[in-house]
Amino acid sequence: MIEIKNKKGGWILWSTSLFFILLIIGCSQAPEAPVLDRYQFEKPSHFPEPTYTFRNNQVHEKGFKLGRRLFNDPTLSRDGSVSCSSCHLQSHAFADTWLHPMSIGVDGREGKRNAPPLLNLAFHKEFFWDGGVTHLDFTPILAFENEVEMDIEFPEVVARIQRHPEYPRLFKEAFDVDEVTGPFVLHALSQFMLLMVSADSKYDRYIKGDSKALTSLELDGLKLFRQHCESCHQEPLFTDLSYRNNGAQRTITDFGREIVTERMQDRGKFKVPSLRNIEVTSPYMHNARFETLRQVLDHYTDGVTEQVTIDPKVFANGKPVIVLSSDEKEKIIAFLKTLTDPGFLSNPIFFNTND
């Protein structure tokens, strides 16, 4: 036996034969046609590797559906009036509507930031505009406990779920637990949010080889986008996940990233947002300053001013860096609209149903 081990050739023989044996066994038992599981997380082929810890929380139908129910349940807010879906609406790529530039929580309390869309979060490393939350699982804790959102302590959320007539049974079925605890509530909500993958827009079809997916106007827009915007809104996520000041605040009152990193160099910086489905997520910027994409582009070319931490890619030598004609702006906007993913915005798996 030891002889074989010491000879590499012997090993190759061993392992290859074993490999083929396994292969034959595997093949003979494989189903005739692959069964598509709508509730499984699948990385789009042109996306980077996800960052989410799937090893601890694999998405499955029961967990996803439980997460969906929690996401839509207003009884998990202090006064029973607000659910996650009050501020994160599917038709707006899970952003808030233009009716609520600043999100509205319990008692009609106004928040200080615009609710971002929820999509492709499995690929992000940090969450919220300032990136203070370092894992998707932890995001609901902040949403529940924030007094301008749901204003309820997380232990109370879990206690309400535990007392609920149906939830404990659903947790048992999804996670095989006899008692509802915090981590499984968070895993269920993560499962729901992890399947919010938007990767089937006209742009994606173009990238995946359908050269006719974009019109020549939209292609001109893509070219201009790559020239002026790509350095921050990096494809295919349309964010490089960094924190920057693009001059969205006239005077910096929200310190953004500095609140988390505690260094002045990060003052007024915010996570570069994804531009996917941007057509339906107005108003724009963390402070909801702009209602239209044209206003955003006018901001980049004419509105940006000197500020301590202004990004040198948008302002340098005393003037805005990005120069675009009116025509070019329209081309970029035409391109940005190819990032709309109708299949995502109307995917029935996200609908608020209990089945």
Partner: protein
């Protein structure tokens, strides 16, 4: 000797080969075990006891809102304590003859291992029972004060790290409060809701990021490794369960702080000076064999 050789060569082979060779060699390895001292498999327990003090007086909690000030800082400021505790993890024991025991760690949604919290409001948490320690002599303990990266990057986990079960978790800047000190002092004018004269020192922070471009550091890792020699070498075996008593002195952590100013610590940077004093606050006072 040949057994040892085989082991080291095994490392060079990759997964499948490794597994198969493990199977093939199990017979020959088995022969190695025969010659081993059966005592090597003997294990025992140790109970590590934490006693909290303020200077030389035992640390006692007062109800929130209390104006009974039991303690005094070196600068004369009076204070009391209404909530107190700390997380401990990564416990390791070492002995004079190369004995080593590393307390196993696990962080998952169903279960955690190796994370402890000494919570002054719950005396059952003052004793940490370590199990499956290889029999032998031990004269040193080390542990991490706080919850390191490994307790955070896995996402939502169970037990004392579950926010819903009272885990001391920062929701806005993910991470745990390693060391929690709350009370009142007439020197503090800080108001927290209905509560007056508030002191809250929440020490947390689990990562250092030092930019290469020379700009100031982002984030501060306030986890602290604490290594303490025992006052005497103790023996662990089937029948002997020694118990080192560790004293923690909160005054050492407060240091020269002034409660008129330093009364509301809630970020890694603010907590830094306190965290740097943590290792001086712990000492093994005595050991029961």
């Amino acid at each position: 000797m040949p057994c040892k050789n085989q082991l080291s060569k095994m490392k060079k082979f990759k997964s499948l080969q490794y597994i198969i060779s493990a199977l093939l060699l199990s017979v020959s390895l088995w022969s190695c075990q025969e010659s081993e001292n059966p005592d090597l498999n003997e294990t025992g327990e140790m109970i590590v006891k934490f006693d909290n003090y303020v200077g030389n007086r035992p640390l006692v909690l007062d109800p929130t809102g209390s104006t009974n000030y039991r303690y005094t800082l070196p600068n004369g400021q009076e204070f009391n304590i209404t909530r107190f505790g700390y997380y401990i993890s990564h416990i390791k024991l070492e002995g004079p003859n190369g004995e080593v025991f590393v307390d196993p760690m696990l962080a998952s949604a169903a279960e955690i291992k190796g994370y402890y919290r000494v919570d002054q409001s719950d005396p059952s948490t003052f004793e940490i029972r370590l199990k499956d320690i290889p029999a032998g002599q031990y004269n040193k303990i080390s542990f991490n004060l706080g919850v390191k990266e490994d307790g955070i990057v896995e996402g939502a986990v169970a037990g004392i790290l579950d926010r819903a079960a009272g885990g001391w978790f920062w929701n806005w800047n993910s991470g745990f409060i390693h060391y929690m000190f709350e009370g009142h002092s007439p020197a503090s004018e800080r108001v927290q809701g209905e509560l007056r004269n508030r002191i809250r020192l929440h020490l947390g922070g689990w990562k250092n990021i030092s930019p290469t471009d020379g700009t100031p550091q982002r984030f501060f890792d306030n986890n602290v490794t604490i290594s303490l020699p025992f006052d005497a070498t103790v023996r662990v075996n089937k029948t002997m369960r020694p118990s080192p008593h560790i004293h923690m002195d909160a005054l050492q952590v407060i240091g020269q702080a002034n409660f008129a100013i330093d009364n509301n610590i809630h970020t890694p940077l603010e907590g830094r000076p306190f965290a740097q004093r943590l290792s001086d606050a712990f000492v093994v006072d005595h050991t029961h064999q």
